[in-house]
Point group: C2
Chain length 267, copies 2
């Protein structure tokens, strides 16, 4: 099993403190010692840092967690190779990244999907894995599903987006455990198969109100983290929960971010 | 104008010294102060670090140039925004990266291509730019050309590969200046429009012979860097020059690396 971390904020902010708390779980106080990765979005482009070494021992992650990267969307992951024979390598380290419709898409997964590749209907077509993990394979399948609607692939609402991936997410989850985070920079989509926690932070700054949503497999602090409901799916953007979908229910709009009046995935 | 740096080695090695020499040219002793980037390959996957700030002032590049990343293929770039209105942003910072046929492809450009976008025949299709530079736009066109042969896109020899991009490279070069580096991890392809220098280093190590080719817009040291011939194109792999193509001539095989007996781009 791995650990996921995500952040969505109204205004750019750093996640130094969270990364510093996540870091020892990668091989020191937690078993996730096979790699770590962090994607910081700057507009449509993600800057992805990753390394197939224990997070707790990484001088690179220590440096990054003090570097004050400012971002509105962050996805991070610490990896325990599962099964162990899918070894340490950059190509097997989350988050994975691909370009679609001129945006970076980033994906990180907590769980396992044994048997998925034996289904001949589940074969990546346009997006192909570089490594050996089921996680990257599933990411490629998701992007194929998103892209298959042609050139207008990215001009759709969160509801349309969820409709595109919903059946595939359910199908893949049937193979094992499929908690993941998927982002195009603006939106952070988080299907919760078994386990994910949420923390909201708001604060009035000098000339704006900051809103931040933090997501983590296990709470990182003593603050009131809320366990999210297994089987549900959440879409966040700019520090706000935009939409959620309970088991066997349609997507329900929770709030409308001012930046999302036209609801386009790639602004 | 920007500066390019590339490395191809038989066995993994670091480029700490070269990066340390390149760094001050980014805003201290050189004018290329709008960003820097380095891609280190590990197998099929590239780890790309970049930042839209002067290389000379970047604590991140200082850290990386002491981190001993070991790689057989490296592509680096320091950027002077050209034209200046295409501003500093991660999405405008080289090297650019895309996945094709399960490999990371990385591209960095020195030059400018004014008027390229006005040609309706030169419109990216599958690979789309995230930023505003002509460089990334040209990279997308090159990948479209490489990919258009379908699923077997990456099972080809260096000669076939050069045939695929040769006409497009010539066409794009007609818009201005088009020195670039393009890699799939194994191969480093470098068309020389106006200016690129090469340095070979060999050394006998305990149980192997190391061979390294370094490429740079301007020589980095007092060693005997050789200016490459404008209008020519070179393909390097594993520290060896595999092939070259002079103006209006077919590609000529220079050497056959033992690792390339089957001449496949994605091994």
């Amino acid at each position: 099993m791995c650990e996921l971390f995500g952040m969505s904020a109204r205004h750019p902010t750093d996640v130094n403190h969270s990364l510093a708390l996540l870091r020892p779980r990668g091989g020191e106080i937690g078993p996730h010692s096979d790699g770590w990765g962090v994607a910081f979005y700057e507009g449509r482009a993600a800057r992805v840092f990753k390394e197939p070494v224990p997070a707790a021992e990484s001088r690179c992650l220590a440096f990054i967690s003090e570097y004050d990267f400012q971002s509105t969307t962050v996805v991070a992951h610490i990896r325990k190779a599962n099964p162990a024979e899918i070894g340490r390598a950059s190509a097997n380290t989350h988050p994975f990244e691909r370009e679609l419709c001129g945006c970076s898409w980033v994906f990180a997964h907590n769980g396992k999907l044994p048997g998925m590749r034996d289904d001949p209907g589940l074969t990546p077509r346009r997006f192909l894995p570089m490594g050996d993990t089921d996680s990257e394979y599933a990411f490629c399948l998701l992007l194929d599903a998103i892209a298959e609607h042609g050139d207008s692939a990215c001009a759709f609402s969160p509801a349309d987006f969820v409709t595109r991936i919903d059946r595939l997410v359910e199908q893949l989850a049937g193979f094992g455990e499929f908690n993941f985070m998927l982002s195009d920079g603006d939106h952070l989509t988080a299907p919760v198969h078994s386990r994910l926690h949420l923390l909201r932070r708001t604060c009035d700054q000098e000339d704006c109100q900051q809103e931040v949503v933090l997501l983590a497999t296990s709470p990182l602090t003593d603050e009131p983290w809320v366990p999210l409901i297994p089987g549900s799916l959440y879409v966040f953007a700019h520090g706000t929960e935009l939409a959620r979908k309970a088991v066997s229910s349609p997507l329900e709009t929770v709030s409308q971010s001012p930046k999302f009046e036209n609801e386009e995935m790639c602004a």
